[in-house]
Subunit: 427 residues, 2 copies
């Protein structure tokens, strides 16, 4: 088959008739599948079931430092959990605050605290700085953007290039506009493109000269060890680079075990310079008494240390790599010949990012929905939900069992084709 764009109107009409029929057949099957969010599948969750009873009623309930984890104490986490996150994030344990069950919540809190109180070194709270702005490399993570939208922080879209955000634009804004207070980054296996920032991009981040002296990089290291293959991407250590440039106060790093153990029941952490950590702990001490140290100890007894976590991630990869392959196979087989879409082939993370012909993403998602497959809303990966090209669709292949994923991808490709043909016919 040839590229759709080279098809004659007649060819398109006949193609549409055929696709319509296939689509109606699909609809008649009454599917009910969900590929909307980056949720681990049940088989993945089973990998961590051993954690359920790793602590025993009559067992030792003390952390490394002797603290009884069943009682109040240790605002910033048990030492072994701090060490584990420090190892994974390549930071030092005193740069780590272990929080609750959600790194998203820690990010939200970090923004809210900055709004209300400012960050370390702020002249005043961000709430009192007039209109403030965040740079938003896009496509990106919709929940980051939702936080900005809630707080009325103006979002400036920065295009993602193959090796990370457009750093010319980032430098231009950060180094000149005092209203730019932050940037959201998912620096390895970015959500949704699966892009890992190049060493040069990371170095350019460490060399920013922010006009706002309380500018912060929100470095959401969500997929820091979420590789699909032995041959995986590597990310330069931003904190180490920032120490070279004396900019270590510029970074807030986040990570969690949500996609390592259990989403919503894992442990999350924030990594930052000692100045930042000290500042944050003073506020945290008013906010709460401590995180769930029993769950922290449960994690540490199950994994022992960061190496234990890394070994565990290989088991996830064994489950996930075939799922990503199913997605890529369908795309290559069904859409490549027609040139109906392009996509990235990520080496880790949780998504495959597909770009349809301009103006076809919303329609594709709608068609899928009407036939029983829920995808992430088109546009969700862009600030304010507005994809300027209406082209990006985030596929989340992890949750459905493989046979359902096959079916969902069959439908997806069909819908992309149908939306494309409709579009071309309307031109």
């Amino acid at each position: 088959m040839a590229s759709l764009k080279e098809c004659s109107k007649q060819q398109l009409v006949s193609m549409k008739a055929q696709l319509d029929k296939q689509y109606e057949d699909f609809k008649a099957r009454g599917l009910k599948l969900d590929m909307s969010r980056g949720k681990p599948g049940a088989v993945q969750l089973n990998l961590s079931n051993g954690m359920m009873d790793v602590l025993k009623p009559d067992g030792d309930m003390r952390a490394q430092d002797g603290t009884d984890v069943r009682n109040y104490g240790l605002l910033d986490g048990i030492p072994e959990a701090k060490q584990m996150f420090a190892d994974i994030l390549e930071m030092s344990p005193d740069e780590i605050i272990v929080g609750g069950n959600s790194s998203l919540n820690m990010m939200y809190d970090t923004v809210q605290r900055a709004m209300q109180f400012g960050v370390y070194g702020s002249e005043k709270p961000w709430n009192q700085c007039g209109k403030i702005k965040f740079l938003c490399p896009a496509p990106g993570y919709d929940r980051h953007f939702a936080i900005c939208e809630l707080f009325g922080i103006e979002m400036i879209t920065v295009p993602m290039l193959p090796d990370g955000p457009d750093m010319d634009m980032v430098e231009q804004y950060v180094n000149n506009d005092p209203a730019v207070k932050g940037i959201w980054c998912v620096p390895i296996y970015s959500n949704p493109d699966g892009i890992t920032y190049s060493d040069q991009v990371v170095r350019r981040f460490a060399n920013l000269e922010p006009k706002a002296n309380d500018f912060r990089i929100f470095w959401d290291n969500a997929y820091v060890i979420h590789h699909l293959f032995e041959d995986h991407d590597t990310l330069l250590n931003l904190m180490a680079e920032c120490k070279k440039t004396g900019k270590e106060d510029m970074v807030f790093t986040f990570a969690s075990t949500s996609k390592i153990t259990f989403p919503g029941a894992g442990i999350a952490a924030l990594g930052a310079s000692k100045n930042n950590v000290e500042y944050l702990k003073k506020l945290l001490a008013i906010q709460t008494i401590c995180g769930d140290k029993i769950n922290q100890l449960r994690h540490m007894r199950f994994f022992k240390d960061a190496d234990g976590v890394r070994a565990h991630m290989k088991k996830h990869a064994e489950i996930l790599a075939p799922k990503f392959q199913i997605v890529l196979d369908h795309l290559s087989r069904e859409l490549a010949p027609l040139e109906a879409a392009t996509w990235k082939e990520p080496k880790g993370g949780y998504f495959v990012s597909v770009y349809t012909l301009d103006g076809c993403a919303k329609r594709t998602v709608q068609l899928c929905k009407e036939a029983g497959v829920v995808l992430t809303g088109a546009g969700a990966s862009y600030p304010y939900g507005k994809d300027p090209h209406d082209a990006n669709i985030r596929l989340a292949p992890t949750f459905p069992p493989n046979e359902e994923l096959e079916l969902a991808m069959e439908l997806f490709c069909l819908c992309v084709k149908l939306a494309s043909v409709e579009k071309l016919l309307a031109e």
Copy 2:
């Protein structure tokens, strides 16, 4: 022995010499005891150890409604946990949001959200209302006051009477001052006095006519089922009373299992009207994805329901009642004859509130500390840490083993006497 106040100077001098000697003997023993915070003791924690492995690796991990608790979902908690808190708080499940591990954190967040966004029905965020005020029945809970202080909310001290806050004063402020946006209440077994609000006080709360249309009662039901005896206090249901007066949007209720299962590893909840809950859930959805549902299910499998929780509380009472008795025995024996202090005899909660002679609390706490027993800082129970009489000391008898508690109380009574004698001699 006679009342200290009736002693001659000579008697006081000779008494002081004797007390000084006893105190030096105590110091020589090198004690290291902590009675500063309301922490359960190890024997209490053991009561819930069965929860550690109540979920099994190969067991059923689904909530009542079929939700796999190991994955994302259910922002406001699993249905059975909502039901349990609803039963305990005498509210309906759709008035409950189950949160994370800390009701303090839920209170902080509720204040922070009000500051940033306002509450349901606010004309504008509290941050934009100029100087705002909270009423603070005192003595009260220091962590409530710390939240106000952090946000720059002016605290107005309201005296605690034997049946609750001085409601004349509460009504005077709430019904006339538009800057009064909230009041902190621990309505049953108040921290630290152990006072339970009378039915009349609760009804007067329900009948408030706030000048600020977004005034809120922060009803911290921390000790709602934390009775020491079969013959326990009862608290009128504020929400039910507010429904009669059409004021149900005026209340935020909080509770947790911190002192039922594990401090820092329990589950917490907020109870509020449907309008409030709906409003809060929209903001919460940006803040996080969901609470730790595995821990919620763990609690529910362990307790089954609210009755299970109540049965469990009787085991706590069996451990705690003797501890409170030790405290009261020492006070009666050592301080009553001298009229060196007064105190409350609570039927529940976590504290015994002692009132020394005016001007003796700080000195008593200092003396205890120098001899190795840490108490809650004197003044901590008052806004800005300022006890106008320097008289109130909060004793937290739950954490130390009984033999240590005996020792600590011996020292405490000695220090009260010494501080009193010093004071009287200096007059």
